[in-house]
């Protein structure tokens, strides 16, 4: 995959989303009752997520995505 292209495409998508498209999506501030629940946060269980990231970083060749690449271990 050409990542320079995909990066540009994502920036373009983000820019367009901010300016036009996504402004029709979303909810009014008083309709956020469900979105405000703990279980609806993007990372709803931070400790589970960081433990999983550490396990998979140690056992697979990929890491990160949700956040930074993680690591910080010799991990054999």
């Amino acid at each position: 995959m050409n990542f320079t292209k995909s990066w540009r495409a994502m920036l373009l998508l983000g820019g367009m989303c901010v300016i036009t498209g996504c402004s029709s999506l979303g909810v009014e501030p008083w309709d956020r009752d469900v979105l405000a629940k703990d279980e609806m946060q993007l990372v709803s269980a931070p400790l589970d997520a960081s433990l999983d990231d550490h396990i998979y970083f140690s056992k697979e060749a990929s890491s990160g995505g949700r956040g930074f690449g993680g690591g910080g271990c010799g991990c054999n």
Binding site: M1, F3, S6, W7, M10, L11, L13, G14, C17, V18, C22, S23, L25, G26, V27, E28, P29, D31, R32, D33, V34, L35, K37, E39, M40, L42, S44, A45, P46, L47, D48, S50, L51, I55, Y56, K59, E60, A61, S62, S63, G64, G65, R66, G67, F68, G69, G71, G72, C73, G74, N76
Partner: protein
Amino acid sequence: MSKPNNKRVSATLATATCALLGATPSAPVHAQELDKWDFDTALLYYGEDGDRVTDASLSLLATRKLVDDRSLTLGLSVDALTGATPNGALQQSVAQTFTHPSGNSAFTVPAGELPLDDAFRDTRVALSAKWQQPLGRLYTLSVGGDVSNEYDYTHLGVNAGLSRDFNQRNTTLSAGLAYSSDEFDPVGGTPAAFSPMLDVGDLSNRTGAETKDVLDVVLGISQVINRNTVVQLNYSYSNTEGYQTDPYRVLSVIDGSSGDPLARTPAPGVEGPSHVFRFESRPDTRTKHSLYTLAKRYFGGKVLDVSYRYMTDDWEIDSHTLDMHLRWPIGARQYLEPHVRFYTQSAADFYTVSLVDGQALPAFASNDYRLGDFDAVTAGLKFGFKMRGDHDASLRLELYQQRGTISSAQLVGNQVGQVAYPDLDAVIAQFSYSF
């Protein structure tokens, strides 16, 4: 003309405002703390079958929320690692003797068994801190740092993130930057690339500690779709410069026609390797790109969380990860959360199961199973329940399985049918308590 009493005017306005909002006026809030610390704690057990790696881990996240949406999060994690890990040498039909990484002693692996280095024992302590606060009305800034230490490894990292809300906070753009500097000081020293495993007491192929630096950049957008749905898309770039070889891992040197390991004889009166093994070597640069998407949807009290990640790097590894959680409430105070995760990766271009005697050494080679071609599945279940005082507890049990393949082009002579990818089965058990 008398000077207006500002305090009285303020108090009157506050009372009037509170009356309009239906609240009672309270004492003025200065820049001080709300309530107290929140703690998330977890005990985790990770165990691989066949006497391989076991990790017992204790983790703590302490969060202090302050006024004006500012917060401080401190993390502590202690891991106790024991067990054995494949050392890269091939399983053979004869017994094989190896020198321990320390160079102080030797160990023998029986015929037909996968060579594991059983001297694997370590304690890791990791600390982290993160400060988050709004900047103006629409921006949020976070800065953090982390440090970890093992017997042979030290990590120092800093990170920062900035996000901005748009469209009545329905769209958020974010950017993050992390930099880390790590030092690897292997037991017995760092072996020179492709140098042979030597007899006990001979450390002439070893040098001192090695370092690596990692730069991570994450750009993201999250979007509220409707009252019940939110989505996220992240692009991540990661660049590592420095030592990325596993100093404890070797490759078997084989005969080019039979595929059998090349025997060697230790010096008289000294223990040492029974066969020729060379320490592995990896490139000292690696650049990774990944795209990550997440969708969360609430329906009838349940929450479905689905994410997908594509990663590619200049070691020619491509991977796909699909992860799904479904939180299913049972009454008002309990829930069940099944979890499945599918992962697949292609092998690094220098993934090699053995080196052929008499052939020129490649630029890089490693038989680390984690750089091979494999699929992995995780399946698990979490049970969560609310306790008195709104304390939360949960139990999580998961099974993790890796199944790999070695391309037939890699296998020589007798290796066919004898050499297999070191498949992995592990259990993950976790107890969490938040208060």
